[in-house]
Subunit: 312 residues, 5 copies
């Protein structure tokens, strides 16, 4: 996620280089043909650019809205992962601590149980992040799971789902050993099901790109518009007596429409390990810090801060 408010103009220019180059080449050619070669017939009425521009605007608005919706939905889902992790930890701690006081289990058993479940929950968040970004650094989870479970996990195709399955089994075992009460699952189960739903919703966004038809035709119409524009403008500029000004202004208009297309494009896919991702690494850090604080641990991992105006 980008946090800086001012972008480097060179970075922007580099980012938009294809659009700028295409637009420059066409504008200069049109100017040259029209003015230097006196091929005045190459000009088109402005109405053509206007009508294509408004069609393009509908596509761009549609795409920007839907791309942003996808990004914001992804962020909201991960917000849900944070909230639900805190709820889960709160439920486990309140229920398990009770078992010590009423003498159903020893302090040690309960502390081990709490730590195991809550660490696995932290591991789930990390696993979901790696799963969505298609990264393989599973060793990041090693410190959160027992050696056996980590071993078993590495064999599984759907790793986050495996961790949730283990949570379900361990909760039942907690109830059997009376660390958890008989009714506690009525509260814990919706929390667990929440994680299943969050995982599935992220996979939906990951695996279903914004309809390719919109992608392809937005790009195509943008190109068509950039090509038509200098032809449509040259005649008006010529009438004003400054045909050369058509070149920078064609490029400017092409740049504006090009930015509108690019901004939508990068927000479509929020799980790609790019600076425009939702900041999953930072959110995993929040979860790890909050849950360890809830367990009463003192040495929390350092809070991740943005670097150079970016946060991952």
């Amino acid at each position: 996620m980008i946090l800086r408010k001012i972008f480097n103009p060179f970075a922007v220019a580099r980012y938009m280089r294809t659009e700028l180059v295409v637009s420059t080449v066409i504008s200069v050619s049109v100017y040259f043909l029209y003015h230097n070669q006196h091929l005045e017939k190459v000009s088109l009425p402005f109405s053509i650019a206007a009508i294509l521009g408004s069609a393009l605007a509908i596509f761009l608005a549609f795409r920007n809205n839907n791309a942003y919706s996808r990004w914001w939905e992804a962020r909201t889902i991960w917000g849900g992962v944070i909230n639900n992790s805190r709820i889960f930890a709160r439920q486990i701690i309140a229920n398990a601590d009770n078992a010590v006081i009423i003498g159903k289990a020893s302090k040690q058993q309960v502390e081990a149980f709490k730590k195991e479940l809550i660490y696995r929950q932290i591991a789930f968040a990390h696993a979901l992040r790696l799963h969505l970004r298609r990264q393989n650094s599973w060793e990041e989870l090693k410190h959160l799971l027992s050696a056996g479970e980590f071993e078993e996990l590495s064999k599984k195709a759907n790793k986050p789902n495996y961790l949730l399955q283990n949570q379900g089994i361990r909760i039942k075992e907690g109830m059997r050993s009376e660390i958890l009460g008989a009714f506690d699952n009525i509260s814990l189960e919706p929390t667990l099901a929440g994680f299943n739903n969050f995982q599935g919703s992220c996979e939906r966004i990951k695996n279903t790109p914004l309809l390719r038809q919109y992608h392809f035709f937005t790009k195509l119409f943008l190109l068509v518009f950039m090509v038509i524009l200098p032809f449509s403008l040259i005649s008006d500029f010529n009438k004003m007596g400054m045909p050369i000004l058509m070149i920078p202004l064609s490029i400017l208009v092409a740049f504006v429409f090009g930015v509108m297309g690019k901004v939508g494009e990068v927000n479509e896919d929020p799980f790609e390990n790019r600076i425009t991702d939702i900041p999953m690494t930072s959110m995993c850090n929040t979860i790890e810090r909050d849950l360890k604080e809830m367990l009463g641990e003192n040495s929390l991992p350092t809070k991740l801060e943005s670097e150079n105006g970016y946060i991952y």
Copy 2:
């Protein structure tokens, strides 16, 4: 679902052939009448095209938005089928495994129970897919159900609903035989009800086309616009001294508006066994793979990948 980012221009042209042919015939006729036959009176003011174009744009934007909403809702519902299948399997496994440990049922009984319910759940996903695509290859479910149940199923009008009804009955039997606990249905019932709701929501989208009024009048207004356009443009192009250019540019504008109409149209109906469907076959494969992995099976079905940039 289309995954490829670049479309074949010939495929696009073939796809838009009606619009292209209509537009070409009209533009050429108008040019011929105007320029060769000197029937200059056939031209119309550009304002007519502008006002019709903006009315058409409202209809096209409305339709694109609603068609895409239907498609994305369908995808979200099926995402829910995936999530809920994992939740269901997790609940069944955690609850039933517990029964072995506390000695209420033998390992064998429990394994059979888990497999039966989870295989039936996989069968439900396949059945919903066939039901929505109006396909009859019910033998695809045969390996997931007992011979008797498959026999019974084939007599039913509403097959996915029959499978859910059986799940409800079998869960009650599981509780009776203490494979499931007394409170387990409090968690399982909302999961089952979720499947009923997903089925019904898919049927709603399947059985209720986007209002035909919008379909018919969008097509009609598009045709009217394509007819009016060359008449509205010819005079401006003539003034610029290149009336012949009106032909390719009329076709181009008609193509752009035609694409906007077509793109909306194909997304309206996401369950038609077309390349623009939501990828139900692939999602059923995900469910089968994930649930079998949760059961601890080793030979999972091969993951379905996209072919030629399409996934079904």
Copy 3:
């Protein structure tokens, strides 16, 4: 609901007759005054039509979006009635069948109980349909209720609500006689509450028309636009040398904007026993067929199909 894709042009013309007549009379008058009577001063600049047209477009877009939202919400609510009916039947059957096996009730008692509750549920769907369409053919419910209950029902002001109240009472009686289990109401109650909510949501749409302000001013602005249009166009058409063409094109533009207004208007109210209603009769038929199949009945009512491209 309209299922046909092609509309009869005469039906469309008849449907739009007011708009067409008004527009024709005004256009012809303007042409006559301008061209035959040489009252050239009646013309207006096109900018007036453009500015009014864009204000009208905002109103029309607003209204089309909200009218369609109402229609689709109504359809979604009734989809919920279908889903919830299946859930209710599934819950009743699974729970009651269990009572026979564990010896709490006889097969006969249970069959009677299941049939009574599920038939009453079918009756609820029919009653809601009649209630919303303000029809009085309550005898359509007679075969689904006992004579006494039907008698009592006919005295009630809010008939669907009375049926739900009876379901609540009968479920309590089922629990008392142990046909239902002690916890079964935890699942059944949300299902019943769902029906209360669906009824109230339909009544909301029925009793609260889309704000009359939008209705009245959309109609008024449409009329103003239709009146202003020929005055705004005549001068441009005269310049092109074909003032007579202004008449058909004014009518065409008025027709396009008129259709946009009319399409929104008919979708506003989805429960009026018109061809543009949501198909409640057909959905009640689906509920009756599905629930009777779930009860194991063999003679299901015939599936209602669309007639002449319409389904009620």
Copy 4:
């Protein structure tokens, strides 16, 4: 809420008098300066009106959409109050009646309990209405509460909340005296919480006006547009040879944009005891009629009908 479909033109004119007067004064002045005083330099290019008109349109569309959303959300919340009242009454009746049959309480006790809770629920709806409209006629609730409770209520700052608090306490007492079953609160509590949420949601809409920034600047831009418009139109009308026509058409366009602003404005606040309110008095009447019918009472209050096309 307005139910009439045709508005009185004089009422509309009176309603829009500020806009009409302002617009008339400016148009006439511009005409006088331009034409009679030959101050031709006061005219502005039409492009200024066009660009301001489109900025204004964005603000008006934004405001109309959000104002209508507030109104419709308020109506939906009150629809929820109706639904939830029926659910609450159904739950209380089914649960309490059961206590008589199983001999836990006498018929009299149960009837008194049912009547008390359901009457208090009716009182809650009336109290919420008075609370939102900031009316003080609390005596309207007197017939629904005991003398002591009414006395106590009148001392409370947040009256609807006090009634809900009493419901909670009385339900616990019902459970203690076994008029209600041990698990009945699992169903009743979400119903009560629903009322808390409905109250709070209404207060949110009541206490948070649509952002004043939009209110102020919409009004300001509307005024600017109305002032600029005659200057922008006079030159075009002069060219057509009928400058005097600029006056009525400026007023007409100002009226159209003024209506768009006014329509949004009145829908922003749905709880102000105006004809554009959501019909809370009528909805309270529905609740009182339905709940008394559910209690088996015969003399229901008369159904409130619209008067002169308005319903409160």
Copy 5:
């Protein structure tokens, strides 16, 4: 939150000073170059401003919609905090009072328990407000918590979360000492989870600014538009014979578009201790007043009113 309906024109001018200064400098320079220096070639066709204006409008509309959605979502979440606080207090009071009557706990114990939990709930609201506004005046919570808990709280990184964790633990203790019933947690747990979700949702809005891309490019395009505008207008104004009028009208148009950008900008971030914040201080006051009234306290804190048309 701003409650006043009329804004001070000087405040508005000061607020928009950058836009006004930039626009004035450019317009005056263009006028000077064009008219006084006879550099007539600096003018641009109006079409350039029109096309850039419409692209800018799409960005501004997008941003206004999403900024307002964020603001309104924040307000809705805090509305939820109010509702849920009342629900929580109602549940605690009804459940705990019952314990006195059935003799499980003394009046004193119960009063202390109620006060502790409900005061902590008030503290949670204040803590969430300070946490979101990044303020450190934690002593505001001192009167609501025991000395020990306040001490402990001040060591925690995530303070609101710590208070919720304590609520969970204390509820379990209430159940153990039978001040709360065995099933009461089934109702209390979703209420507590609601608070976790509200906190997380606020943090999402706080920590995730509206995408910076939109922020930066809206500002950039606004600047470009303000620069291009006088060049695009000067020629038309010159034709009308009043080129000097271009200056005020350029500034006016720039002001209108500038306001549209600014209004969106301030609503993006609703938790910044600015006058455009959602009124969290006032809402905390509502919670404190309502919850203390529910506890039966007589001296409620004074209701916070708006000052000078602002409420915090």
